[in-house]
């Protein structure tokens, strides 16, 4: 039996289809790596080397570009803004999602509960074209060109988040809620101490997705944060290093690499959650 298995395994490995599949995977991996490699190489080049020798290796590795990028791009200030905006709005939004999901779940058997849930969910399938009116609204409300506005608008209820978390909450047995109530647990206690830990994977998933989208948002922030002091990391990379007439590639890439390192570390640490995040969106 074992021998047979081994034989069929060998056969399947040597199958031309499998081999071409493997080749395909490696070629695609190469396509992924090439731009990143060139970005890293370029970050170590001087301006002269870049023009003379665009695709070769630099002669010496110096970190001058990184220092220039950090100072010229005002990346310290940008990091501060990014951390404030992303951190606060992520915390508030996640709490909002948990809270709303809990209350929606409590009334999910009633007509009004179903209606409210469907109202929120159906908004996911309607193409959103509200950027311009949303911007005008924020101007009117004084939420334009300041960090508070960015935080408030980033903390609103997210239909996608509620969708994923309520999928997990629905799978919890109803008896648990009743038992908790019997033992005298109030709504808030049940939500915070019993429900939340049980649906932690779903919440982590949603929080991670929201984190990357907030942290990486550049186009939305460019519309609302006009003041240079308020720029976030992706914005300052884009607006400082990609001038209208000249692009200083070597400094730009130094900045890009520096600011991407935290993300790469975050990805390596919770890579499983990142991937589960997207799978969750299907299962939910």
């Amino acid at each position: 039996m074992d021998k047979k298995n081994k034989k069929s395994k060998l056969k399947s490995v040597l199958n031309p289809l499998n081999l071409s599949g493997k080749a395909f995977v490696y070629v695609y991996a190469l396509i992924l790596i090439i731009p990143l490699t060139f970005a890293i190489i370029t970050a170590f080049k001087t301006r002269a080397e870049l023009t003379l020798n665009p695709i070769g290796f630099p002669e010496s590795f110096s970190f001058d570009n990184f220092v220039t990028a950090w100072i010229d791009g005002d990346l310290l200030n940008a990091t501060k803004n990014s951390v404030i905006i992303t951190g606060v709005s992520l915390l508030i939004q996640t709490a909002t999602i948990i809270f709303a999901t809990f209350h929606l779940d409590c009334i999910r058997d009633t007509k009004i509960g179903t209606f409210m849930y469907m109202l929120l969910i159906s908004s996911m399938f309607i193409p959103s074209v509200c950027a311009v009116t949303g911007l005008a609204l924020r101007r009117r409300l004084g939420l334009y060109n300041n960090l508070i506005g960015e935080i408030i608008c980033g903390s609103t209820l997210s239909a996608f988040g509620v969708f994923i978390v309520s999928g997990a909450v629905r799978s919890l047995p109803k008896e648990m809620r009743e038992a908790a109530q019997m033992d005298g647990a109030g709504d808030f206690y049940y939500m915070a101490k019993i429900m939340t830990p049980l649906v932690k994977p779903a919440i982590t998933t949603v929080a991670l997705l929201n984190f990357t989208s907030k942290w990486n948002d550049s186009l939305g922030a460019i519309l609302t944060l006009r003041d240079e002091k308020l720029w976030t990391i992706p914005m300052s990379l884009l607006l400082n290093f990609k001038g209208q007439y000249s692009v200083r590639h070597e400094i730009m890439f130094a900045g890009l690499i520096m600011t991407s390192i935290p993300l790469i570390i975050a990805y390596c640490v919770c890579q499983k959650h990142f991937v589960a995040a997207l799978t969750g969106s299907v299962k939910g």
Partner: protein
């Protein structure tokens, strides 16, 4: 007994309202920032609207007449670019994702690593990805041009990839795919995992070849997942704006804006929000139309195949 029941019902009734009242503030904020602006787009497309002073003046269908009169050519070009973007994205990304998923479907260590690796670009910001790729595409310093120059120094470097709009759109789509490949792969992998391997094995025992069992058993079973991926791809393609906006540079000669990127650029430079609202309304119907058509079409295909 009935008294008891009534009290119980009333209590339940009160409980429901308590939850609804708790929910109201959240729904209020959500409505204010997500729903109200979406509704406001439609009436405001009929006004001349200064964003700074907030003065509105009724102009009727003037902006629509402009869009389908004087500027008809560029409107058609944008519509065509949007369709092209969706077609490219759907064609290239779905096929690539399908091949990669099938190649990586066995849950070995090697395959898990590559699946996670293909996912990695998604954690980078759009601006980082686009800056990297605009360097790759750059006419003079760009990597692609310089590598081509090794083979044909007379023609390269100096070729702009953004000269012809069909190619420029393709360039944007390539970046889009490079950035987001992890998504369809993850969706398809989770779909393949739900298909029971026993079925395919049973078919093979009954004499079906691997190829047959793949096309006749696994693909039909996977169909709902594939449909979901297609739906998602089309929607993101039709709404996409960031790659066209961020890749744009001086060497961009061709008009390769899709509706999404055109909308964004016009918001950025607008002194009158009226025409932008009209464009938003237009985009709403184009994207809504695309979504609706493919939704109906996919339903029909699904019904036909699944019988």
């Amino acid at each position: 007994m009935t008294q008891d029941r009534k009290v119980k019902l009333k209590k339940k009734y009160n409980m429901v309202w308590k939850h609804v009242i708790w929910l109201l503030p959240f729904y209020g904020v959500w409505f204010l920032f997500s729903v109200y602006p979406q509704l406001e787009v439609f009436p405001m497309s009929l006004y001349e609207w200064n964003p700074v002073t907030n003065v509105k003046e009724y102009v009727g269908l003037h902006y629509y007449e402009m869009m389908f009169g004087l500027r008809l050519d560029s409107t058609l070009q944008n519509t065509w670019n949007t369709i092209l973007y969706v077609i490219y994205l759907l064609g290239i990304q779905s096929i690539l994702a399908m091949i990669l998923t099938v190649a990586l479907r066995r849950n070995t260590r090697h395959n898990r690593f590559f699946r996670a690796f293909f996912f990695m670009p998604m954690v980078f910001s759009g601006s980082m990805v686009c800056l990297t790729w605009s360097y790759m595409y750059d006419a003079n310093l760009g990597v692609i041009n310089n590598i081509l120059a090794l083979f044909n120094p007379e023609k390269y470097p100096g070729v702009s990839f953004f000269g012809i709009n069909a190619i420029a759109v393709l360039c944007a789509v390539i970046v889009h795919i490079w950035h987001n490949m992890g998504h369809p792969i993850t969706i398809l992998t989770s779909g393949f995992n739900t298909v029971e391997e026993d079925l395919a094995e049973a078919a093979q025992v009954d004499g079906a070849t691997k190829w047959q069992s793949f096309w006749k058993i696994e693909i039909p079973l996977m169909l709902p997942t594939i449909m979901r991926m297609v739906l998602l791809t089309i929607l993101t393609g039709a709404m996409a704006s960031s790659y066209q906006v961020l890749l744009g540079n001086l060497s961009a000669v061709a008009d390769y804006d899709t509706f999404g990127s055109l909308l964004y650029k016009s918001i950025l430079s607008a002194t009158d929000y009226g025409p932008v609202c009209a464009l938003s309304v237009c985009m709403f119907f184009v994207v809504g139309g695309i979504t609706l058509i493919q939704f109906v079409a996919l339903r029909k295909i699904e019904d036909k195949i699944l019988g």
